[in-house]
């Protein structure tokens, strides 16, 4: 069959899959409304295929079919995410608390979809998804779904939505561009070593503006640097919101490493750990880490110069601009969601309750509860008798019950 027939068939199958998922019971309306938006997006794809099919231009039809194929490829995992958001494995107790934080940070229209994912690392889907601009998709690893101590890592994923909502890519792009050009000029001999076929080119401002290959290199360095800056900013959001519990959850899940080489769009783990420890506003030596950074390791792969040049540039820019990213995160979080950010003075009262086996009575925010949970966990871990129940299970129950108290208090206050 021809590509038009096949692509229509695949798009209709995708829509039919959405219709089946829509028959599910949804604990929160956001998943259902997101599915309907995705459904409309694919109905529009079908209309495009029909219009392109009426043309004599083969390239037009091919591009239309390729676009639909790519969107199916891109959105099928998101359908899975939306389906899994209905699963009872999720920590639904924390849902409302995250909605409150997301709406404070992003706006009252923000929708949160929480899911336990079959992916070890917490994740969000790229918030460039034009179909779901006001949705925050928070995926936590299913194996850790009973563990409330890892909830702070959702702060990083929230950061991606803040980055988009505040249009920080646009804000910092000129700076990243200047830094990329400066890096190229300052490392010109390395560039020529990596790309000897361009040895006749001079590193003048005119060449940097007019030479297309140099433009391509600068654009690549800038793009990867912006990705790193976004990741650093997201760590800043997590650290500013949750303070020490972000660092502790980050360490729990990711230290010493996951074994492979990092994506170059991310800073090295040691750099990220260093930023959290030095820019995150918490003295981690008081939380059991004499040298937090050294808890993490990176697999260093020797790359040929032409593959290494671009990520090296992005790494240098990421390190240079990390303080600015943390400062930006701090400013945004404190101005928009300061009342939810962790407060050290709020922790002892909650910790006292936990020590008595009770949930918090008048918790102020989710981060305060989780911080007290981590304090309890760290103090009890050496002696806790796990014959009857595990410590993580016990403290998670106390944390989640406290978050329910928080929700009750917030709802009754807002009622």
């Amino acid at each position: 069959m021809d590509i038009k027939f096949n692509t229509e068939k695949k798009a209709r199958a995708f829509v039919a899959q959405i219709d089946r998922i829509l028959l599910s019971d949804f604990p929160h309306k956001a998943s259902e409304s997101a599915l309907n938006l995705v459904r409309q997006f694919f109905e529009d794809q079908l209309a495009r295929i029909t219009r392109a099919g009426a043309s004599n231009d083969r390239a037009l039809l091919e591009r239309t079919c390729t676009t639909t194929n790519q969107r199916i490829f891109e959105y099928l995992p998101i359908l899975g995410f939306l389906l899994r958001s209905t699963n009872t494995r999720n920590s639904f107790e924390a849902y409302y608390a995250f909605v409150e934080i997301a709406q404070a940070l992003i706006g009252s229209g923000a929708n949160v979809i929480f899911s336990s994912e079959w992916d070890f690392s917490p994740l969000t889907y790229p918030m460039n998804v034009g179909v779901l601009p006001e949705y925050v998709l928070l995926g936590m690893p299913s194996s850790e779904s009973p563990n409330a101590l890892v909830l702070p890592l959702a702060g990083h994923e929230l950061g991606h939505s803040v980055w988009r909502n505040e249009q920080l890519e646009n804000k910092f792009a000129p700076l990243a561009q200047d830094e990329a050009r400066a890096y190229l000029k300052a490392n010109w001999s390395n560039f020529i070593h990596a790309f000897p076929e361009h040895s006749h080119v001079q590193s003048t401002d005119e060449e940097l503006s007019n030479n297309l290959f140099l433009n391509f290199v600068v654009s690549n360095i800038m793009q990867i640097a912006l990705s790193q800056m976004e990741e650093i900013f997201c760590d800043g959001v997590g650290a500013c919101l949750f303070r020490q519990s972000y660092a502790l959850a980050f360490h729990y899940l990711l230290a010493p490493s996951l074994g492979g080489a990092r994506a170059t769009e991310y800073p090295t783990m040691q750099n990220r750990a260093n930023f959290i420890a030095t820019l995150g506003g918490v003295d981690l030596t008081k939380h059991g880490f004499a040298d937090y950074k050294s808890e993490f390791s990176d697999l260093i792969i020797r790359m040929p110069p032409r593959e290494k040049f671009t990520p090296d540039g992005a790494d240098a820019i990421g390190v240079k601009l990390a303080p600015l990213m943390y400062s930006e995160a701090q400013t945004i979080v404190m101005s928009k969601a300061g009342k939810f950010a962790a407060e050290q003075s709020a922790q002892p009262g909650i910790l006292n309750k936990f020590a008595k086996g009770l949930p918090a009575r008048e918790p102020r925010s989710l981060p305060d509860i989780v911080n007290a949970g981590w304090a309890y966990f760290q103090s009890e871990a050496p002696t806790f008798q796990e014959n009857e129940r595990e410590l993580v299970e016990w403290i998670s129950e106390l944390i989640l019950k406290s978050i329910e108290v928080l929700e009750f208090r917030s709802r009754t206050k807002n009622a």
């Binding site: 495009r48 219009r51 392109a52 043309s55 390239a59 037009l60 591009r63 239309t64 390729t66 676009t67 790519q70 490829f73 995992p77 690392s121 917490p122 994740l123 969000t124 889907y125 790229p126 460039n128 034009g130 601009p133 995926g139 990083h156 994923e157 988009r164 249009q167 890519e169 646009n170 792009a173 000129p174 561009q177 503006s209 007019n210 030479n211 297309l212 290959f213 140099l214 433009n215 391509f216 290199v217 654009s219 800038m222 793009q223 990867i224 980050f250 990711l254 492979g260 080489a261 990092r262 994506a263 170059t264 769009e265 991310y266 783990m269 040929p304 032409r306 593959e307 040049f309 990520p311």
Partner: protein
Amino acid sequence: MHRRWERCKPCVITADAEQVHNRDYIMTNHHISRATRDLAVEQSLDAAIEIDEIIRGERSDSPHLTQLVTSLIGTGRDVGSARKELLANPQFSSLYHRASMLAGQEDRSPDENDILSLLFLIDKAGLSQFPPDKLAIVRDFCLGLNRELVSESYSRVPEPAMARSRHPRLALAYGH
């Protein structure tokens, strides 16, 4: 290696371009964000479909081309300086020239390759003022843009706190 990677030759402003010298263009920010690039996947395709329909005499305008030009180029300032600034922007310049590389375009004259000026002209005068061969150039450019943006979207993955390596290798890009 294709010579266009070597140097971006000064683009030729055609006589028609002088008609738009008074038109102003505003570019609040040259950077095309990831969100804008993602939206432009369908915008560029819709613009190509609409232009194709104009060529076939089925319509006379392309609202999606207007949206696309606004998203990628901006509106309202002096054409000459806007053009210069856009081509000096590495991100725009890289995307623009990659999008221009559709099969067969290597044989076109410098004037025909100056799609940016053509876009400025179209934005000013409207699509109905242009013959089918010029419209076909813009349609093909939109398809080239769609190709580049879909390619980027394809390599995009969920954003975990930690990710495996996934970035395209510069050394292998376009066979260079």
